[in-house]
Every structure is written in C-alpha cells, then in structure tokens.
Symmetry: C2
Subunit: 641 residues, 2 copies
C-alpha cells in the first residue's frame, strides 16, 4: 500500500455506498460466517481451526477435526485485511477489539519455529512442505502476510506482523537457507512478500519473492517429482497440469496467459511488482506480453477472465463463451492487482482502463447490491432453465448464493473495495506528480507530501464531470496533476478555473502542470455518450452481436426490464439510443439505457422455414454490475443486431 | 428385420457408394482392428479377449489379461451384424468363412450354463450380474443377440443364434426364474430380445424384454443398493445419476428425454417395439411424449441428439450449443432405430422425416468420405485453435481420428448403412400396402408377397425426382404404394404414367391405390428448393442466425470453400441463393449452394467502437455430412444474418 487509503476519504455516492455496505454488512456478515454463527449458511470452521491448532500445540491433541478447504486459513486473512481498511476509514473500537482477539487466536496457533497453518498443524502434522502443488501452504501464508501488513499499516499494531515475519523467516529458512526445492502451486506469496519487504524494508523478503519467481517452471516437472516422492494428495484428482499451475515454462518465457486464472494474475502481479522494484527488464517484458495476451485476446468486455469452468482457467485465444463463462470474481480482482502493478511500471492509461473495466463490472457484479450474497462466477448471458442446471452450466448460477464452502470471492471483494483509494491514485513525490486513475469523489490529503489537499467532486460513473479542487494552506503548491483520459471517452474537456490550461498528453494521461494556487479548480468532463461495441469476429459467440457501454459501465438486458424475455430481442442497426437521467430509486441508483430494437415472434417449432415476424420495441438495459438483483431472469450482455 | 435387406438391392449411386465403402473398406478395416492387425491404431484386443476366455474355460487360466473397455465384446457383435448384411448384399465366401471362424471363437468362450462375456470370464469370474449399472453385461449380450439374429437371417447359419439363445435362456433363468432384481445400466437387451423373439417366435424372449422395461425405474434406487451390496466399480466415478441411466422414474412416467443419449434412444426403441407388439397403450403414450420432447426441444437440425459431452447426454430443453455439441454418431443411429419403431406404431411421415434427417446428416457425417476415419462427436461449428484443444472442447475434434479405444460408432454406422433397406421400406402385407420412407434407388423384389417388383430410379438426395416402376409377371398387382411426403418439400408432384392419379394423403403419406399394371410408372417429384431455416428463439446459440437445407441435407460453410475464414461471414437477409448442378468431382459428388452475403472486416482489437466494414461476397456451402474431409478448417452450420 502506498498509504493512500489513509489519506483519501471517499465521499462520492457510488463508492460511499459500497464502503458503507462493506462496513455495515459484508464485514460483520463474514465475521459471523468465519465464526459459524450464521444459520443456514455453509459451515466455515475457519476460526475454529485456529483454536484447534492452538489446542494441539498446547496439549498434543485436538477435541475435533480440521474442517473446510485446505486453504481455509486464508478466509480469516482476507477478512482481517478488509477489516483493517475499514478501521482506517471508520475507526471502530469494538471491531478493532474483535480483530485483535482474532489475531490473538491466530498467534496461539503458531509453532515455536514460526510455522503457521492450521490444516497441517491439526490434520497433517508430518507433512509440512511436502505438497506445494496442492496444499496452499504458501498461499495461506501470503494472504496472512498481506493482512499483517495492512493491519500494521492501518492500526499501527504489529502483533500479526510479528507473527507473519516469523512465518516468512521460517519460509526463508526452509527454501533459501536449507535450499528446499520448489515453488507454490498457487502463487500469492510473491506479491505478499513484496508488500512485506516494502513495509519492513527487510531485503530477505524481496530475495524470497524473487526466488519463488525465478525458480518457477525452471524445473517444470517439480510437482510430478514432489508427488512421486511424498505420495499424498489433497484433492485426489491431481493430473499435474503444468499450465494450470503456470509452471510449464520459466515465467520469463511465458507468452500466453494460461491455467487457473486467479493463480495466473496473482503470479503476474508479483512479477510486475518485482520487475519494477529491481528493474528487471526481461521480467517486465514477460509481464507486458502476458498483459497483452490477456487484454487483447482473452478478456471479456466486463473485465472477466478465465472463461473455462474446467480448471477455472484461461482457455484459448478468442474463446469467450457468454453463457458458460467462468469469469471468477477473484480473477478480476487479481486482474485489478496486476493492472495496478503494470501502471506502477509504466504510467499508461491502458492499464487503468482495464483496472476500471474489471472493477466496475465483474468485481462489483460479484456482490449483490445489498452486500449479502455473492457470485463466484460471472457469465455474460444467463438462461434460466439451463444456467445452473445443465451439467455444462452447473457453475453459472442465475442468482447469488449466500456463502460458499470455498469462500474466496466475498472477502476478496471486500478488501479490494475498501482499499479502492490505492487504485484510484498514484502520488509520485519524486516526480511531483499525482495521478488520478479512477474517478471517485472524495478528499485526498496530500499535506505531508505536496502541501495540499485535492477535493474531488463527481457523480461518476453516472456523470462524466470530475472537479478537482486544490486547497493549499501555503497558498500554492508545486504539483502536476495527471488525469487519465479513459479510452471510452472520445474527448475529455479540461478546464482550469474555467479556461483551457496548457497540458501535455502522454500515454493516455493529461499532465496539467502546476504551480496550482489554493482554490484552483480543474474540471474534466469525460464523454459519456453510450457506445455500441463490436467484438472481434474471431469470438464466435458474439457474431453479429453488439454490446452497449456508457463510461466504464457495460450494460445488459435483463428479463425484468424486458417483459421477461430477452432471447427474442434484436437491436436495430443504427437505431436510436436513449439514456435516462440518474434514477435513484432503481437498483440503488442507475442511469438506464434504452435502444431501438425488435422483438421476434417466431414459430413455436424448433425449426421453421418461416421468417419470424418482428415488432418494434425498446430494449431496456441496466448496468451489468446490477444484474440478478431481482430474482432469476434472462440476461444478455451481447445482443444480436 | 422384416427381411427387406434380402429383397432390396440398392442401385442409386448415393447409397451404392456407401455400401461399397462398407464392403470394401469399413468391414475389412474394422475386422483388422478387432484382430489388432492395424499398425498405429489403438489396440482393440476384442477377438483376443474371446480367445483368452476360451482358454480360461479349458484350462482354468489365461496366458494374458483382459484388455479394453468392459463392453469390448460388443465391437465384435456389431461387426458381425454389419458383415451379415454385407454377405446378403454381396455374397463373399471368404468373408463368410472368416465370420464363421469368429463365431467359432465366440462359441468357445461360452460357459456350459450359456453365459458369455469375456470381461467377466477372464477378469472378474466371481462377479457376474453384480454390477448391472456399469458393467454392460446385458448390453453386450444384446448386441451379440442382434448379430446372431442378423447372421442367421442373412446366411441361414444358426450357430451364433444357438449360442445367443443359450445366453438369453441363461439371462431368463437369472432374472425371471430365479427372480434376481435389476435392469441394465445401458439399455440394448430390450430391443435385441424383441428381435430374437420375432425371429424365433419364442414368447420367453418377449416376456424377458417386457420384464426389463417394466422394472426399470420402478425401484429407482436399485443401482445404489446394488453398489452398496457388492461394493465394486468399473469406472471408479460412479455417482448413481438416476437420469443418466433413465431409471429416475418407471419408463411409462418419463416425459423428458434425459441422461446418456445412446442409452435413452436404445431404451425408447425397445419400448416402442414392445408397445407395438403387445399393444400397450401407456407405453406407446410414453414413447410419443419422449419422441416429441426430443424432436421438438432437444434435437439439432442435423438430427444430432445429446448436446452435452458431460455424460454424453441430453441436457435441458432448447440447450443446443453448436461448438460444444456432443451429438454422438451412435445417438443419432439410435434415433433412427427409435424413429423406425415409432413408424411401425403409427404410419406418420414425421417419424420418417427425423429418421432421414439423422441418417443423411449426423450418421453419415460420422464417417469420412473414404470410410477410413470416424467422428464420435458431431459439432455444428468447428473452431480450429479452440475445438479439440480448449478443455471444454476436448471432445469436439476438427478431424476424424482413425479408431477409438471406445469404438462404438464405426461398426454401428456400418451396420446401419448396410441395412438401410430396412428403414427405406415397410411392406405391410395384411394392408396390401408398401411404404416408401426413404428415397433410395434400387430394386425391391416383392414377388413372394405382392407378386411384383418395384424398380426405383432416382438421384436423391441431389435430385427430387423418384420414379417407381412396377413390374409384375402376372401383369398386374393389387397393392397400394404409400409414398412419404417429406416435410422439407412444399409440394410433391405425383404422376402415374404421366397423369395425376387419385390418391389420398394421410399423416404425411400419399396413398396411391392400385391395382397397378406391370410397367406402371409412378413419378414423384419432391421440391428441392433450398430452404432458409430459422431456429426457435429459445435456442440462445442460434439468435439471429439461419441455416440452409436442400431436401434432407443440412448444409454448412467450411473454410475450404470460403477463403479459410467462416467466422467473418454474414448472410444477406433475403439475398439470392444459387444451387450448382451435381458436381461429381467434389467431395465424392455434391450439389453446392452459394448464398449472397457479406464478409466483415472488423478491427484487429478485441472490442471496438467502430462498426466493421463489410464487402459483398458469396458464401459457399457444402452438405454437412461431407465436412472435415479436407483437413482442419472452420465450419459453421448456423450463420449470422
């Protein structure tokens, strides 16, 4: 974290609502889930596992069994990280007390040598570090390290940080000092160690992160050898798919995003972070190649990635099915992470465009508007009767479930949304430049670094006007404001106190050079015209279809707004498009779009020689993130023309 | 068999070519495969298993292990059945000698109590009848019974018939006399027993067929109980999916085709045959309901069924994806069987329409034009780079492979094509009516029953004219010729010696009443205009797309005829359609279609705000059955408009 979360107060109503939801609903709900206090929800047992592990350490025995996924510990970590952000945004003694209590419980589960993982402590005490491929030991450590850094940063309390430095030191000893071979089956530790290194300043964590990145895929048979040596399995269905775990080649030689999508983007995030830190050109090049492959050939218009439910994985270039899309919420969260690190490598609006696309569409769609239910899978077409029911569509639910046995997405969304400031801004003190990547109303307090505050007023994403007001106690400030010019805006008008200022545009950012005086207002008006989007013909599912976007928001047609039936709708080529004003009463506030179209009235037969008759109609569209909030109904992002 | 195969000589060039292929290529090739004489092909071991079983019976031991699928025996059965039909069409002493030799080998593998199954004899001698769900014992018996009836019928030799009556008697004793519970996991025995009953006249086989149909699903937990009792598994992944094995309800209560598609249609074929034989009204009603569900909600335009590769199964109504279609060749063969039995229940052209659709499209597409390679899976869209490669498309190959470890489809196609006479005609002596269901050139010798021959001259399916010439040695014959009026023909012109005769149309058949005199010519000209077909909007994959058919043939666009790229093609609404004359030099003879259309020249980007430019072009189409004969290339049946 660049500490932006501590100096940016979100005030714009769009993200304020989400922050409020995270604080009032998501964090308390998830805490209850972790503690098994929700009736009717799937049991988590997460905290109970830590209690059992502590018991085992004290007495050598447990009163009950480990329960849950092998990576169950990470749910507590993600929750703690989200709670840390909320605590800095909204100090809450009672919540902080409960966090401290949870950290206490976690600490008791730590071995004397620093090792911490309840699955192994409780269930497989003799099998530490013998199944890196499947057992998520380093993954859980990574998440808890992230939580530790966030909690220390946000609250100043270092108990969890000490615990996790102990674990990180233990990992260092095992893999570096003792030279144990291997790398994690599920990357995450790399990006976490980079955060730990940056927060603590200890080089050994950088060294360890680099080690895991360097050795990955150097021996692409490592997991096969591991499994032959130790002969045990977590899931029982281990096929040692090298692409699935991104170890088919050394990472610097990988050119196509492949395998499990979350693993992939977590890995790439760590790679990009390391590349920037140590100025590793070959690593940076690999990151750019992988980035281009994802965003130019394997990404849904919603910023969803990993189109195949088989392996929750990337598949092949241009294979982007709508109804069977996997597009896991966590994968888009990971894409946001990756984009942010690419942006740190190179200030190029392309990265922020994708970050915004994934955030405002797939990530937000992952959460119900009331913060109480979550999608793991985010299809671009929903077909009640088939979706969630056909064997090939079991994953593609039509409504968000309450909680998952594998509960990775809800706390992951919570921690991202509550730390959105870190993605909205970059404050580059050495270049005296502040970058506005995402347009979120609020107040950025740069007193300590730039001697000013920036007050942002906007109704984005529903309105394209963003006003940045500079307030400086000194009267003026030496600072460049670099405003992103998003790719969805044909032209963005920029004014300084009502007049066009001098500015230069470099790689999609408008650099408005100041010397600003206190009270200066930079007004940027982005073009919010609705866009009709065409897809590359190589994507077979979207032949002769179009999608509609407005600003960063992808829209979709839902049955609820279209007489229950979306499949018989067809867009009129070149037809008229209308945008309603902001409607606060609908779906927590949206601007609706309606486009001219036709409703087909075809034969009841399965196949017919008769051309369907058609009647003119309006097709009503709502933002994709707001779909499936009104019961099961048909939904389509891509509509035939 | 109604013995039509013995009295109909195919002469029309379309099916003559296929018969020749079966005789000269498929049957010899498959015989070599069964005997493991093909280099580079997957080992079959089928005949070797029989030899091992015989060895075991003689000596109590085997020199090697059983190899292959649990249902490996059925490959020999299907091959023998196909060979029997070829022997009656083209007597061949050498082939007959080899068949007799194979039958000798099979006989040696039979136990004294009549039991015959090499998997159990060689590998699991103590587990007979303890895994009806998975082990295909009754399925293998069924296929061998079919082979036995066909071989006896076609050659007059009854050795295999005696062997299989022994096995059928053994099954009767186990399930009827001794009252063992259960029914087959894979239906097939039911329709086989109906054939055995009809050929031998023995009521016990009818009783046994009826028994298996009656008890199916009456205890829908039978397979669960069986597995709990005997605790062994063939595949290891047994989930006791009741729908998969069509035992979720008693068969008379089933209303939607579900589960493994081949199992389903084999079951329904047996049900329809039994319903006709014993005039069981409730069973007939169930057959009609299931028929309607399949053909009105779950069938591809190609007559493919079972759209999901998961479980090779039916999925949900209107779920008919093109690129991930399973549409197994054997399932369409089973649909042809089912249609034929429905036609026996009710003379209604609807059944023959579907029979023809499945035969001329999916079944024929299952075989390469040279008879040397076979498709198991028949998608309606092929996307090189994705098809056969993405995890969700591993089944959807872009080119036919040589042979399969699970080699059900090739010999199944061979036996169907070589007995096509049985589907082309129904000779109903009691009603003095001969039904012409499929239009195949040749000579039907009805001397024994109707005192005449019918010589059929046609170039169908490329030309719609079919001439039936009646030759009677007596000078005239008392016979009604009922010619099917196919649904694809808007109007069919009928002439008797150049004049319009009196005829009545009932349920899609034109009953032309004779008294015919020898030399009478009935000429029927079916409308072969190319049809543009629209799909029900509920099928999401076909939104705003059309397909083209001519006669029974569904056409498709292949890269080979369209500059390598089919995905950027769009049909012009109301555009002109041209049919070339029969081109003998292309794809073993076809009539090509070309339609007016556009080629889109969109942006290289994945998503673009710019509408793709388009240039006018012709879209060239070839019959679906002939696709994938020119190397890997894109293919589409449904084209955007």
């Amino acid at each position: 974290m660049d500490n932006l979360i501590k100096i940016f107060k979100v005030r714009g109503r769009f993200f304020s609502r989400y922050e409020k939801l995270i604080r009032e609903t998501v964090i308390p709900y998830q805490e209850k889930a972790l503690k098994d206090e929700i009736e009717g929800a799937e049991k988590s047992h997460c905290i109970q596992n830590f209690i059992l592990a502590a018991e085992k350490l004290k007495t050598g025995e447990c009163t009950s069994e480990f329960y849950g996924m092998v990576f169950q510990d990470s749910d507590a970590a993600k929750w703690l990280e989200g709670a840390a952000y909320i605590l800095v945004l909204y100090p809450d003694e009672e919540l902080e007390r409960r966090c401290d209590e949870m950290i206490g419980i976690i600490g008791e589960a730590q071995h004397e040598d620093g090792y911490l993982n309840t699955y192994f402590t409780v269930k497989e005490p003799d099998k530490r570090w013998t199944n890196l491929e499947e057992a998520h030991e380093l993954y859980c450590a990574g998440h808890m390290i992230e939580a530790a850094v966030a909690y220390a940063d946000c609250t100043g309390k270092t108990e969890l940080l000490s615990i996790m430095c102990g674990m990180a030191d233990h990992i260092y000893e095992h893999f570096i000092t003792n030279g144990a071979p291997g790398y994690p089956g599920h990357p995450e530790i790399e990006l976490a160690l980079m955060r730990l290194y940056r927060f603590t300043g200890k080089n050994k964590y950088l060294e360890l992160a680099k080690h895991f990145i360097d050795v990955r895929g150097a021996d692409s048979d490592f997991f096969i050898k591991e499994s032959e040596r130790y002969k045990w399995t977590v899931w029982g269905n281990n096929h040692h798919d090298r692409e699935y775990t991104q170890c088919h080649k050394p990472v610097r030689e990988q050119t196509e995003a492949s395998g499990h999508a979350v693993r992939a983007v977590y890995l790439y995030t760590g790679m990009a972070d390391l590349a920037a830190e140590i100025k590793d050109v070959s690593l940076e090049k690999a990151c750019k190649t992988l980035w281009e492959n994802i965003t130019r050939k394997q990404m849904y218009i919603t910023g969803g990635i990993g189109s195949s439910y088989e392996g929750e994985a990337f598949t092949r270039d241009y294979h982007l099915p709508n109804d069977t899309a996997y597009a896991e919420t966590c994968a888009s969260i990971g894409l946001v992470f990756f984009a942010r690190k690419m942006l740190a490598l190179e200030k190029n609006s392309e990265y922020a465009d994708v970050m915004e696309r994934a955030l405002y569409n797939t990530v937000l769609a992952g959460m119900q508007l009331d913060g109480q239910r979550f999608f793991y899978v985010n299809p671009l077409e929903s077909l009640p009767g088939i979706s969630g029911r056909a064997k090939t569509h079991h994953h593609a639910l039509t409504e968000r479930p309450k909680w998952f046995a594998c509960a990775c997405c809800p706390p992951n969304a919570a921690r991202l949304i509550s730390s959105v400031a870190e993605y909205a801004w970059i404050a580059d003190e050495s270049a005296r430049t502040v970058y506005s990547n995402l347009f979120i109303g609020g107040e950025l307090d740069l007193t300590a670094s730039f001697g000013c505050r920036i007050i942002v007023t906007t109704d984005f994403p529903f309105d394209g006007k963003v006003v940045y007001k500079i307030i400086s106690d000194n009267g003026n400030t030496d600072m460049t404001l670099a405003v992103r010019l998003p790719s969805w805006s044909v032209s963005s008008d920029i004014c300084l106190n009502g007049k066009k200022p001098d500015y230069t545009v470099v790689k999609g950012y408008a650099y408005i050079n100041g010397g600003f005086s206190s009270g200066d207002e930079i007004t940027v008006v982005h073009d919010m015209t609705v866009k009709c989007v065409y897809c590359n013909e190589k994507v077979s599912d979207n032949s002769s279809k179009v999608a509609f976007t407005r600003g960063p928001l992808v829209y979709c047609a839902e049955g609820a707004d279209n007489g229950g039936d979306v499949l018989s709708l067809k867009v009129k080529d070149g037809g008229n498009i209308e945008v309603s004003g902001y409607n606060a009463g609908k779906l927590e506030g949206i601007a609706e779009i309606s486009v001219e179209g036709f409703r087909l009235n075809g034969s009841e037969s399965l196949y017919s020689y008769e051309k369907p008759s058609q009647t003119e109609c309006r097709i009503n569209l709502v933002p994709y993130y707001s779909w499936a909030n009104r019961g099961e109904n048909q939904m389509r992002v891509w509509l035939p023309v």
